[in-house]
Symmetry: C2
Amino acid sequence: MPEVNKLKVVIIGGVALGAGAAAKVRRMDETAEIVIIEKGPHVSFANCGLPYYLGGVIPDRNDLLLHTPESLKARFEIDVRTRQEVIAIDRTRKVVSVRNIVTGDIYEETYHKLVLALGAKPLIPPFPGLHLPGIFSVRNVPDVDAIKQFITLYQAKRVVMIGAGFIGLEMAENLRALGLRVTLIEKATQVLPPFDEEMTSRVVDELKRMGITTVLGDGVSSFTGDDRARSVILESGKEVQADVFILGLGVRPDVQLAKDAGLALGVTGALKVNDMMQTSDPDIYAGGDMAEVKYMIDGKMHWIALAGSANKQARIIGMNVCGMHVKFRGALGTSIVRVGAVNIGMTGMTERAAKAAGIPYFVSYNTAGHHASYYPGAHDITIKLIVEQSTGRLIGGEVVGREGVDKRVDVLATAIFGRMTVEDLADLDLAYAPPVSSAKDPVIMAGMAAEHVYDGTVELLNEWPTDPLQFQIVDVRRPDETAKGMLPHAINIPLDELRTRIAELDPQKPTILYCRSGQRSYFAHQILKGHGFTQVQNMSGGYVVAKYLEQAKVNRVAISVR
Amino acid sequence: MPEVNKLKVVIIGGVALGAGAAAKVRRMDETAEIVIIEKGPHVSFANCGLPYYLGGVIPDRNDLLLHTPESLKARFEIDVRTRQEVIAIDRTRKVVSVRNIVTGDIYEETYHKLVLALGAKPLIPPFPGLHLPGIFSVRNVPDVDAIKQFITLYQAKRVVMIGAGFIGLEMAENLRALGLRVTLIEKATQVLPPFDEEMTSRVVDELKRMGITTVLGDGVSSFTGDDRARSVILESGKEVQADVFILGLGVRPDVQLAKDAGLALGVTGALKVNDMMQTSDPDIYAGGDMAEVKYMIDGKMHWIALAGSANKQARIIGMNVCGMHVKFRGALGTSIVRVGAVNIGMTGMTERAAKAAGIPYFVSYNTAGHHASYYPGAHDITIKLIVEQSTGRLIGGEVVGREGVDKRVDVLATAIFGRMTVEDLADLDLAYAPPVSSAKDPVIMAGMAAEHVYDGTVELLNEWPTDPLQFQIVDVRRPDETAKGMLPHAINIPLDELRTRIAELDPQKPTILYCRSGQRSYFAHQILKGHGFTQVQNMSGGYVVAKYLEQAKVNRVAISVR
C-alpha cells in the first residue's frame, strides 16, 4: 500500500484528460504522489493538430508535443512513464499491473485513487487486405510520421481517405494541400454524419472546388494489392486505385481494461461515470473519450468524444481526487471544422437527434451576410435552429459559411447552456461594427425568424407538396435572381410588385412563398395575409436552403412545426 | 383627424429606428397609413459605414443608402417625405406641424400614433473659429461628401480628428488610409473613453504603428485661420496645424422637439420611455439614440446610443403601435471597434461603471492565443472580466486583440444576458478546432481564472505596493522572457525551477507572483501555498496587463476583491 499520509494517484493515459487531471491534482495538492502510465511514446500531444502537421501547416512536430515527460516532471512533479501499459487493475488490493513495453518487465503499482484516461481507439473493421503496407490510421504523431515517410518513399500521387467525419475532412484538405489527388470515401450518404444532411451540401461543393473527389453512400469492402495496397474495393464493387489509404472511420471508447476490472459500462457502451466522474468504483475516476457524458439538452448519458469536455473533466477529476465534490455539468457536443474556405459547426441537437429523441420541435433557417452587407466582403452564413415546440427553447443549432461561423456557433452554445429561447436570441445585445457584424447579427435574425414561427405569426411550409399544381408557388425575388433558376412550378412576382400585381393570385388557393433566404418571402407572407389570403406558407431558408435540401435529396423545401 | 377605421402612424425621422419601425408597422398591418417625415435628404442610410465610405473601403455611396423613399414606398407602402421637418407636436389635437425645408411651406399632419426617431445630434461646443471653412462633423452622407470634396479641392495633406471615440478612431484609420497625416486629439486621458483605460493601451500602440499622432488629455480651445481653418489651439495652448478638422466629440439626444411638446425627459437628459417604448404620452413612442434604455445589469435607465438597441426597439415600437404589448428587455451597451489590426470590444459594465454604481465587484484578466497555440498565427487576446463579488455573476467584459475579439465579446454578452456566473463561463461548451479556438477557449480560461478568485483559491494582488521592499516579488517566466524586461524589484525564478529553488524565498514574507498572463504564476501560487507560504498574491493578467496598466498610468498591477 502507498504511504498513508500522502495521496497517491495513478493515471492511466497521458494525453488530454490524463495530463490535465495530473496537473490539476498537483495544483490542489503539492505533496501528492502522481504517476502517469502511458502506452505510447508521447504525453499531452495535440491530437487535433495531426492533420495540419501532415499538411505542413504546422511545420515542426515538436509544436504538437505540448508537454514531455521531462516538462511534466519539472513543472508538476509528475512521474511519467511512457511506453508502459497497465494490463490489469486489482480493485481489491488497489494495485495496477504494469508492463514495460520496451523491456517486457511487469511490475505492480499501488494507488489510493486511480484515473482512467485511455481515450478511444480507431474503429478498424477486419477488412480483407488490411495487413497490406500503405494503409494507415491517424491517432498519434508516429502515425503521421509514417504516412509522411510513406508518401515520400513511394512518391505517392493518389490517396484514398476513408471516412468523411471531422478528421477525414481535415486530412483530405491537408493531403490535397500536399498536392496529392484525394478521393474521400464515406459510407453514409453525406459528409460529416453528425450534422443534418442538408447543412453539409455546402461542404460537398467546397470539396469539389478543392479538387477532392467525394464518394458518398459507399463503404469499404476490401483492400487489394501486391507488395503494398494498390486499390480499395467498395461495397458497390467499385474499385479505387491509390498509393496511400488512410482510415478515419471514427473511434470507439477504449474500455477493455475497465471492463476486465469489472467496472460498469453505460448504455452507450462507453464507461459509466457519475456527475463527479467516478466509475462504479468510487476510487476510480474516468472521463474523456472512453466515458459517457451527460448531455445538457435532455440530461441523458451520451457518448461524445470531444476535447472540450475532456479538458473540463480533467479539472473536475483533479479536484475530486483531492477530496472535493465538483460536478461535471454536461456537454452540448459543440464542434466545428474548417474545410477549405468553408466552416461548419454545430451545438446541441440536430434535427435528426431531436426527432430520434421524440422531442416535439420545429426548425427555422436563416441566411445572412457574416457582417454588414454594405461593407465589402460579406459572405453568407446559413443558420439552422432546432427549437423545442412547447417552450421555444433553443435545443440545437447548425451553422455553415465562410467567415464568422465559429462566433455564431459559440453564441448559440452559450444560449443553449443558458436554456434560452428563440425570443431571447432575438433580444441579445451583440457587438456591431461594419467589419464584424450587422446591426442585426445573423443570430438575432435567426432568432427573430424562429420567434415568428413559435408565436404563430408565420406558417412555414413543411414539405414540398406532392401535388404542386394545387398550390400557387410564388418566387418573390428580383428577375435578375430568378433568371439563374427557380423552383418547379413557381411564378415570379418580385416583392416590390406584389401589391400592384396581387390580382394575379387567388386568395382562396393555398400559396407557397419563397425568396433567397426567407426574409422577403416573410414580408410577402404578411402582405398576402393582410389582403385576406387564408392559406399562406413561407419557405424557411428560401432558395438557398431549397438547393441544399435538393442536393441532399431531402424531400423538404422548408421545415415547419410538426 | 385621420380616418377612424385605419391606423395612421406618423414617424419623425427615417434612419435606423424610424425606417425600421415603419417597416414593422407595415408587416403588422397591411392597411395602416404610414408617414415618415425626415429632415435630411436620405432615409435608412448606413451611418456606421460613413468612415469606410470616406476611406474608400466602401467605394460607392449608393451602398450606404439601404433604402430610398421610392424603395420604402414600393416595398412597404410608406409615404416618405424627406427634407421636411416637424416643427411642433400638438398632442391634444394629435397633429404635427411640418415645414418643407425646400419650399418653406408649413402644413399639418394628423396621427393616431406618433413615433419619435430623431436620434442624436453631434455635440459641438461653440469654439471660437468654428465658422471657418474646413471644419466638419460626421453625421450623414452629405457630411462625408463635403469632407471628400474639401480634401480634393485643397489637396489636403494634414487632418486633425477631434475625439477618439468609436467614430473618431474609425475616421482616423480611414483618413490615414487616404494617405493623410492624421493627428487624433482627445480631451480624456485615454482613447475610447467608454472602456477601462488600461484596456485601450493596445489601441494607442496600434495608432502609433499606423503613423497616427495621438494627443490625449488635451481638449480644443479654438480654431484659427484666414479664408479657412488652419490650426486648432488646444486647452494646453498647443497649436496643431492642418488642412482639415473633423469633430467627433460624441452626440447628444435630439430631444428639443419632444421637450417643446411637454414630453418628460429622464434622469440622463434623454427622453423618458417605458418598457413598451412609450413616452409620457402613451400615443407617442420613441427609441434609438434620443431615448433612454433600461440597462440590463442593474435595471436602471441609461443613455446608450447604439444601433443594436435601435433596431430591436424599432421592431417593438412597430408591434406596440399596432396594439401589441411587447417589452424591450434592455441593453448591455455591447460594442466593438476595429482600429488597424486591433479589435476592442466590451459588454456590460466596465470596472469604472461598477465602481460608480457602488456594486461590490472584482476583476480578473486573462491573456491567451485566439486559437490553438500550436496552430500558426495565434494572436494574443486579453479579456477583462468584471464580476459581482457576492454572486460570481458576470456583469461586464472587455476584450482586446487582433483576431476573434468579436466572438469573445458576443459570448460574454450572451452570458451576461443569461445572468451567468464565472463558473458558468468556465463550463461553457464552445466550438474547438485548431484554426478557430483552443480546447480551452480564452473565454473559458478567463472564467476559470475568475472562478479561482471567486471561490478563494487564489488571492490576487490589488495594487502595486507602495513599499515593494516589504515583499518578495517573483517573476516566474523563463529567462528569455525576463531578458526583455521585468517589473521593479522582482527576482526571477522560472516556474519549472521553483520547487528546487524554493529555499531562496522566505515563507513568512508576503510574496507577489507574476508571469506573462497570470497562468504560470497561478501554478506558482499553488506551489508556494502547498509549501506553507502564508501570504501569496497573484498578479492577474501578469506582465502583459502590468504593461497596459503602466502605460495607462493606472497604479495597479492587478486588481482584486475590494
